[in-house]
């Protein structure tokens, strides 16, 4: 079935079966919980940042459907070792893609590109966004100057610790 094949690509199911970010991290600077009250999906995200301002540790415990787990796993895969600026840029790109934009040309977004099929299933877009909205809060908690980037979302709640 065309639509389903587009949604449940093999790479997504691989991330769902064995998600990245499972290993515990030391010296977490931030711990936040993301929650989607509409469907009950939730995840815990811990993040540590080194002295150069790079994300050197990301621990994610997702509890939800394949789309929310795979999206969280890809987030951990892509952002570990990246600068905060890179994390912010990727977060913004991913949000815009989920809202209908195409991936920017000339860049490789790796496994994340497989999530584009979610766009055809409007009720599942929140599933893919949960980890990224949680990341937004985590970054804002780490650096209050980033708080102005936090977008209010009626459907996703994030609790900080």
């Amino acid at each position: 079935m065309q639509g389903l094949d587009d949604l449940y690509r093999e790479v997504i199911l691989d991330h769902y079966r064995s998600p990245h970010g499972a290993a515990a991290i030391e010296n977490a600077a931030v711990k936040v919980e993301g929650f989607n009250p509409l469907c009950g999906d939730e995840l815990v995200m811990e993040l540590s940042v080194d002295s150069d301002g790079r994300i050197d540790g990301l621990h994610i415990e997702p509890n939800g459907c394949s789309i929310s787990v795979a999206s969280a796993s890809m987030l951990a895969q892509q952002l570990t070792g990246k600068s905060l600026d890179d994390a912010i840029a990727l977060k913004e790109t991913f949000k815009s893609v989920m809202r209908g934009e195409s991936w920017p040309e000339g860049q490789d977004f790796g496994d994340l590109e497989a999530l584009e099929g979610v766009k055809n299933f409007p009720v599942r877009i929140k599933c893919a966004l949960l980890a990224w909205m949680t990341l937004e809060q985590a970054l804002a908690q780490y650096d209050p100057e980033l708080a102005n980037q936090v977008e209010a979302d009626d459907d996703i709640e994030v609790k900080t610790h």
């Binding site: 079935m1 639509g3 389903l4 949604l7 449940y8 093999e10 199911l13 509409l38 469907c39 009950g40 999906d41 939730e42 509890n63 939800g64 459907c65 394949s66 789309i67 299933f121 009720v123 599942r124 599933c127």
Partner: protein
């Protein structure tokens, strides 16, 4: 819902019933619609749609206030619907039937107009862990406001309420027992008369959330021995936007008003007002007359099929559905095992595929189910799950629909590359 089914009740002619529902002709994603989300809302027969359209075409006017013919006809249609509901529930009188917006509003009406008058700090309300949020949150608000204590009956592993310690949980502080007639998630039909008898013996009132009771079999509020009974007609072929609250006449008479405004007054001065008689005292503002007319038509339709025949039909569905689900070893099925102990629904989980993924895949096969917490999050926690998939059946569903569901559940395993 009682199981005293007359053996001679003729079975539903589902093929004929299906012809009465225009929406069943449509396709979903190029597949025939297999509608198994009836516990969320059912579909409407042509007769209900037509009755409502006809009201707007020929008799539309406001009720209880005009002296012109149209207002007279509208009032007769509105009050005629009340009479039908009263007879349908075997209520003592039509005056004990109140029209609301839905079951939720009916619960809130009792929480405001009865409980706030009668309950104070230290009083107790007995609920159950299987309640829909609509029969939890209004009581939580009251508990916070008044210092009222909430207690809960638990379920056993088969999804039945544990009633062994009922006489210990109930005491002289218990003012109210409020519970579902039938669980919207497990399908369990609760033993209302037994619980009502125990509640009354300590002087407590009994509120029954009949949202999943009324659709699935005969309901007799006097035999149930409750004090309040509420339901949502849209879950039983009626219109969206109208609800029903039945209350014992003597209890209703001594209640405060709920909402204030037009229709519910006897006299108004600038400083104060007196109230209209029951039930109008509880129906402030212009009511949803066309919805009441549609409700009347839905009751006619249900009674023509026969509520006992509907109950029998759902047992027949369960007798086929439950064994077929059990053939799939990767499923966990919740609720009573005996097909007679539940209404026509099943909640289940695939041990590898999340309920939302399952819901999406089933939808691609034209099978509409509910995936999620079913507005019963405490029950989800009690079952130790985040969500379940629920397939709920009604008068137009047949054994073929069970087959479509099973086929789609097997296809879902293939999409996820799992063994079947």
């Amino acid at each position: 819902m009682t199981d005293t089914v007359v053996a001679a009740t003729p079975p539903l002619d589902v093929a004929r019933v299906r012809q009465d529902f225009p929406i069943l002709q449509r396709t979903v994603r190029d597949k025939p619609l297999v509608y198994l989300d009836n516990s969320a809302t059912t579909q409407r027969p042509e007769s209900v749609i037509e009755a409502m359209a006809n009201f707007y075409r020929t008799s539309n006017a406001n009720v209880h206030r005009g002296v012109h013919l149209l207002s007279e006809e509208a009032t007769d249609a509105y009050e005629g619907a009340r009479n039908k509901v009263a007879a349908f529930l075997n209520a003592d009188s039509p005056q004990s039937v109140i029209f609301t917006r839905n079951t939720t509003e009916s619960v809130n009406l009792v929480a405001h107009a009865w409980a706030r008058r009668h309950m104070r700090e230290g009083d107790e309300i007995l609920l159950t862990v299987m309640e829909h949020h609509s029969n939890l949150v209004p009581w939580q608000l009251l508990a916070q406001e008044r210092g009222v204590k909430l207690k809960f009956l638990d379920i056993d592993d088969s999804g039945h309420l544990q009633l062994d310690n009922l006489s210990e949980v109930l005491n002289e502080h218990t003012r109210l027992v409020s519970l579902a007639h039938v669980s919207n998630t497990l399908g369990t039909a609760n033993a209302i008369p037994t619980i009502a008898c125990a509640a009354h013996s300590v002087g407590a009132k009994v509120f029954v959330d009949g949202a999943q009771g009324v659709p699935h079999g005969p309901v007799d509020v006097q035999a149930l021995d409750c004090d309040f009974y509420a339901f949502s007609p849209h879950k039983a072929l009626g219109p969206l936007g109208i609800g029903v609250l039945w209350g014992r006449r003597d209890v209703l008479e001594e209640m405060d008003p709920f909402l204030g405004g037009g229709e519910m007054i006897r006299d108004v001065t600038l400083e104060r007002s007196t109230w209209a008689a029951v039930p109008h005292k509880f129906e402030a503002g212009t009511p949803s007359v066309a919805d009441a007319v549609g409700l009347g038509a839905s009751i006619d339709y249900l009674e023509n099929l026969g509520m006992s025949a509907i109950r029998q039909h759902e047992v027949k569905i369960n007798e086929y559905l439950l064994p077929r689900l059990r053939e799939l070893p990767w499923l966990t099925i919740y609720g009573p095992e005996d097909p007679h102990d539940r209404c026509g629904l099943a909640s289940f989980n695939d041990n590898q595929i999340h309920a939302h993924d399952l819901g999406t895949i089933l939808d691609q096969h034209g099978v509409a189910v509910r995936a999620g917490h079913h507005c019963a999050k405490p029950l989800m926690r009690r079952l130790g799950v985040m969500a379940t998939t629920r397939a709920s059946f009604y008068v137009y569903n047949d054994l073929d629909d069970v087959d479509h569901l099973i086929d789609a559940l097997i296809e879902a395993r293939k999409v996820f590359g799992l063994a079947t």
